[in-house]
Amino acid sequence: MLLTDLPGSALFCCVVEGIVGFGIGLASMGHTPVAEIQFADYIFPAFDQLVNEAAKYRYRSGGTFHCGGLTVRAPYGAVGHGGHYHSQSPEAFFTHVPGIKVVMPSSPAEAKGLLLASIREPDPVVFFEPKMMYRTAVEDVPEGDYMLPLGVARVVVEGSDVTLVGWGQQVLVLQQAAAQLHKQDGIRCEVIDLRTLAPWDSEAVCASVSKTGRLVVAHEAPLTGGFGAEVAATVAQRCFTALESPPGRAREEGKVACFASLGLALFQGGGRMGRRQRAGPDPTRPDSSRMPPPVEGEGGRMGCDTTP
């Protein structure tokens, strides 16, 4: 425990911009502070420090100063009862800032390896942890020191029909959707966990889409301006001739109303994923024989996205 083993190494503070600014100062002197924001929803007072200071510290000084030792951790994501302010996924804001890295683990073993890598990374890292998994995930985590590489995606499930891309707690949802689609319709989904969003492993995703010809990106954060747009646009540009259908982003409807019902909707996410895929490509194309025809009237609380 940090408190008992290394007195003075763990501090309890209450001013978010102070936490991050203080961490930047420590890092500028060569230390490796790990600043925790209690919920990602509260990171915004530190946005100035992260965007205008941490991200630019090295570049603006011509490399003569930097705060690369800084890691900022924050729990993100919906658990069902968190409401507006304990559920947000703000990763997209931070991926837009050159100079910081954004990492989002999808499981306990992933979290350990990625966090150690983030702490040791010579650049400031914002590390969003899926809070839903704090109490629900069970996994064997290797003891001892190990790191997982930043900027490298992980193929979670291999497949040949469609590439599903996600991060954080959404990866589990994608896995469930892939299993469901395989069982019900024989569709083989390739599930990719990006792990790092900035910089993200576009090579791995493009290689996968070149193989499958189809892409769906899914995230908890609101659809518009979400990081899924970055992935979809890149794939559309680089894999255009390999694509059987336009890259899609699964919609996170109802994010605006953060009531308990939203939790139910999220937990139904696997089902929505499935409906998204079945709606799939243009039935007149030759390859569409592999995909079942669009399903109408699926019902369910959030309706069905049948746009190809």
């Binding site: 007195p7 100062g25 420590l26």
Partner: protein
Amino acid sequence: MRPRGCKLLARAARALGNAESSALAALHSGSSSSSPQGTLRRLHTSPSAAAEANTTTTTPTCPSPGDAFLEVPGGKLPFTSAIQFVGGSDSPAPTIPCYRTIDSAGQDVPDAQVPYPLGQDLALRMYTCMARLQTMDTLFYEAQRQGRFSFYLTCQGEEATNIGSAAGLDDKDMVFAQYREQGVLLWRGYTLDQFANQLLGNAQEPGKGRQMPIHYGSPELAYQTISSPLATQMPHAVGAAYAYKMDRLPQVSVAYFGDGASSEGDAHAAFNFAAVLGAPTLFVCRNNGYAISTPAHEQYKGDGIAGRGPMYGIPTIRVDGGDVRAVYNAVVAARARALGLGSGSGSGSPEGSSGGGGAPGPVLIECMSYRCGHHSTSDDSTRYRTSDEMRAWRARDPVARFRTWLVRRGWWDEAQEAVLRRTTRVQVLEALDAASRVAKPPLSTLFTDVYASLPPHLAAQSAQTLDFVRRHPTICPPDVPVQ
């Protein structure tokens, strides 16, 4: 069945009464069940402090038998039967006076305490630096008006604050400046060539021409690179000071900031963190009367920035910022306090959490002066202040005041003054000429240093950019090489 009206209130009152005695204990014990043995999480700064914390300090429990104090997690508070407000226009806090040792006429203030007197060498070093700073500022400002570079701001009226404070520090104390502290750099040895290189953004400046002029930085001189946002440097300074404390180094960090910046949230965060954590940070506020066009009397309603220090638990002094000897003495004394070498203790031990009296911690120095120049070359301050006001303050030039003091002592004369000004002028112009002959940094450095190493997507963007420029050479300014 749901209770209604009075019964509901009565039940609530009983519940509150029962809860009060144990709620405060439960608040910090982290458990939902009430416990009278709640232990505070105290910030640890040493092994012995950690051990001490485990045995509890102020533990909120049931009211003491005598009921003489209100004991809460924040401390022990005496009661009063008077309904009395403190502060505000009805009962303002007393104004903190200004420490001064040399008056406006350049004479010694008779009863002034000067624990750190200026010998001739130090005094002349300080004066020549102030005079060079003044001349440098004037010439660089004029050069910007002539179009030689895009932007400049002077510290005219604040030369004493700049040089007096710089002289009172150790050269390795890490400085986190705002943007009007070029005198600190000059004191520490930043050359006119280095200033000119940064202003022109040429290939010789370490910042690689990326930032606007006046955004200097120098790791060799322990001066962190300037950034434009206000007050962001203040929490950085506290983090750096805490690094010194953890590493047991006898250094302080210094955060310079203006009266306007003190209104930022980051300023509050920095003050509070430094005080609570006992970080050896000198907060040097340059209260020069204006934040661009906002005069100080529209910036705050309390007693300036100094008035806030004691409320954070920070030892504070207000100084005549035009008196370089007063600024120097205040900073030297403050530095010792910040290191915990203040009155009463020479141990410099890292224990404890407040400045002065043997424990490291922050100190606040508010230097009162006047911004004689415009905010910057992008400002015309005649639009919001009168020429009379500016003229009156120019007559209180801190450089002239100190010169008078030196001349009275026979340490300086007009001949030396003329030589100094003339040679400085020549040197500044030479530096500008030399800097303008150096090429700009190549376009190929546009994407480097964003991260420690170039990631694939930026490498691709860099390649695309350079390829585009090669195919359309007129896009790139003629003085910017591509590679």
